[in-house]
């Protein structure tokens, strides 16, 4: 098993993931994730030079379908679960976008 790695920048990754971590949580998660990243780092030693012998990442069936307009959920059903919404017009409401 590979050892813990120190190239796991928890602050950068949290920002990319849209998460705000408290310092204590960040330290704990950094230790855990550095260990896991070290473990999965063993993949880098695997010999894949022969090229991919299969298509394991391909969908099981042809994903294309006719470009037809199909029914979708009505607006009230879509907005039923919204944390903040207006019925007329049917919109979700969010805090200001242009603040910082």
């Amino acid at each position: 098993m590979a050892g813990a790695r120190d190239d796991f920048d928890i602050a950068r990754v949290a920002a990319l993931a849209g998460l705000e971590l408290a310092p204590a949580d960040a330290a704990r998660l950094h230790a855990q994730l550095a260990s896991i990243v070290g473990y999965v780092g063993q993949l880098q030693d695997a010999d894949t030079s022969g090229g991919a012998p299969g298509q394991a990442d391909q969908p099981a069936a042809d994903a294309l379908r006719p470009d037809d307009v199909l029914a979708s959920l009505p607006a009230d059903a879509v907005l039923m679960n919204a944390p903040d919404a207006t019925a007329d017009p049917p919109l979700v409401r969010v805090p200001r976008v242009m603040l910082r």
């Binding site: 993931a17 998460l19 896991i36 991919a52 990442d57 879509v78």
Partner: protein
């Protein structure tokens, strides 16, 4: 009631023969859940009104048309699968108040076959976990030993079936989340071939791996549920148009000449009780005429690493949708949109989901994508090729479902890497998109269930069901119920 009467087949027979009404069967299931669920935490909620209305409709239609293959059978559904009008939490605070606007295809098809959905089961948050300890609503417990985990992430479904609250439950299996809890709880758990069952209405975790599968008391019941759910669904583009065979008819009990491959090299270091039960299971199948052969899965030791790169990468993408805008929890008090999204996600996700989102974001990030994500995709292909090579010489690959019996609650929860390593025998079939099942194969000296895992060629569920059902005829460990059930 005991034995066959508690199976889906037995319940259907009682209904069809006029020995019990669907309403009485449904009432008994609801009462059983009310009586037994408290210490187990397996069922998050029941929908009594919906279930009893459905049962009454079945009673009204009795005798007027052919009874479906699951007529009057109570079914529990993992809480990451949508049932219209009911809450679907996926084990997360983020979705605590989410009301499903539609029903999953798998559930719709079960109901069309006569099944009655009676409630929703506990699971690890967004199906991420191997112990059910990562549910926002508390852990489920193993009915064989309440100090132990039922496994995960479909732990509630397995615990409920083992405790005879319902003969059948749905789970989802990404890296083993149907098979491992089934093994830990002494149930049958079936992961279908990728593309066999629609995921429409399943809360997405890892889209190249997720599959819905049944957890049941017997192999025949699992096959009946699979038969009801399988087949092309225009609402899930990954479903296959492969024909759906007659799985019941395939279960002949005849395994003469069937070649079972055992990757013996992978068995080093497993629990002694698991090893003994697995060895005894192979002897039973050998005595029925199956041939046991050694197979080499050269890249199997890399499967855990591949899985935790690819599954977390896909999770980080799928879980980006939880931003507090369109549905789910929204944090209060943020001054701007970006702050609201970050606060919502930070407060909403539990520890394991947070860990996996961070890992997945890392392996997809600039500077690391090629070394981790792209590399893992290439090694995934090697893992799949190993299975394809092995299936040139054998018909089924047999392994214990897990290297240990159910571990204690709290034992691994703070050691995520060790928890991940416990998936060592299940992730391979997931990565290779193969059908695989776990069938009870005995108990450890401490009385904990052990599962026998059988994996087959793509879309060849028939062979693994035939072998498992033949094994079940000679052993019938499913008849042994935990105390209180």
């Amino acid at each position: 009631m005991s034995g066959e009467a508690l199976t889906a087949a037995g319940i259907r027979a009682a209904f069809v023969n006029g020995e019990a009404t669907a309403s009485a069967i449904c009432r008994a299931a609801l009462d059983c859940i009310a009586e037994r669920n408290g210490p187990l935490g397996a069922v998050l909620r029941v929908d009594e009104a919906r279930a009893m209305a459905r049962a009454a409709a079945l009673d009204r239609a009795a005798g007027t048309s052919g009874a479906g293959p699951l007529a009057a059978v109570p079914v529990l559904v993992k809480d990451n699968i949508c049932v219209e009008g009911g809450v679907t939490t996926a084990g997360s605070r983020l979705l605590e108040r989410f009301v499903a606007p539609y029903t999953a295809t798998a559930v719709e098809r079960l109901e069309r076959s006569g099944a009655i959905v009676v409630g929703k089961t506990n699971c690890d948050e967004f199906a991420m976990g191997s112990s059910n300890e990562h549910s926002a609503f508390g852990p489920a417990r193993n009915p064989w030993d309440l100090s132990r985990t039922p496994g995960g992430s479909s732990g509630g479904s397995a615990a409920a079936v083992a405790a005879r609250m319902a003969p059948l439950a749905l789970g989802s299996d990404t890296g083993g989340s149907v098979r491992q809890p089934a093994g830990f709880c002494g149930c049958v758990g079936l992961r279908p071939t990728y593309g066999r069952v629609s995921r429409y209405g399943l809360v997405a975790f890892s889209s190249s791996l997720d599959q819905i599968g049944p957890i049941a008391l017997t192999v025949r019941d699992a096959a009946a549920a699979l038969g009801a759910m399988a087949g092309l669904d225009p609402r899930d583009a990954t479903t296959s148009d492969a024909p759906v065979p007659d799985w019941a008819g395939a279960m002949t009990g005849d395994v003469r000449g069937c070649r079972l491959g055992v990757p013996a090299r992978l068995l080093d270091g497993i629990d002694d009780g698991v090893r003994a039960a697995f060895g005894a299971a192979l002897e039973v199948l050998h005595s029925r005429g199956a041939l046991i052969r050694d197979v080499s899965l050269e890249h199997a030791s890399l499967a855990i690493a591949v899985y935790y790169v690819l599954a977390t990468a896909e999770a980080s993408s799928n879980l980006a949708r939880y931003d507090g805008v369109r549905y789910g929890y929204r944090a209060a008090g943020a001054a701007d949109l970006r702050g609201m999204i970050e606060r919502t996600r930070t407060e909403g996700f539990g520890p394991e989901a947070t860990r996996r989102i961070l890992l997945g974001t890392f392996v997809l990030s600039a500077g690391h994508y090629d070394a981790y994500y792209a590399k893992a995709q290439r090694v995934r292909a090697l893992v799949a090729a190993d299975f394809a090579d092995a299936f040139r010489d054998v018909d089924v690959i047999a392994l214990p479902t897990s290297p240990t019996p159910a571990f204690r609650l709290g034992e691994l929860v703070d050691d995520p890497l060790s928890m991940y390593l416990a998936d060592v025998f299940t992730v391979g079939a997931s990565l290779a998109r193969l059908p695989a099942l776990s069938v009870p194969c005995g108990f450890t000296p401490a009385g904990l269930p052990v599962g026998l895992q059988l994996a087959g060629r793509p879309f060849d569920e028939s062979t693994i069901l035939r072998v498992a059902e033949a094994y079940e005829r000679d052993t019938a460990f499913w008849r042994v119920a935990p105390s209180g059930a």
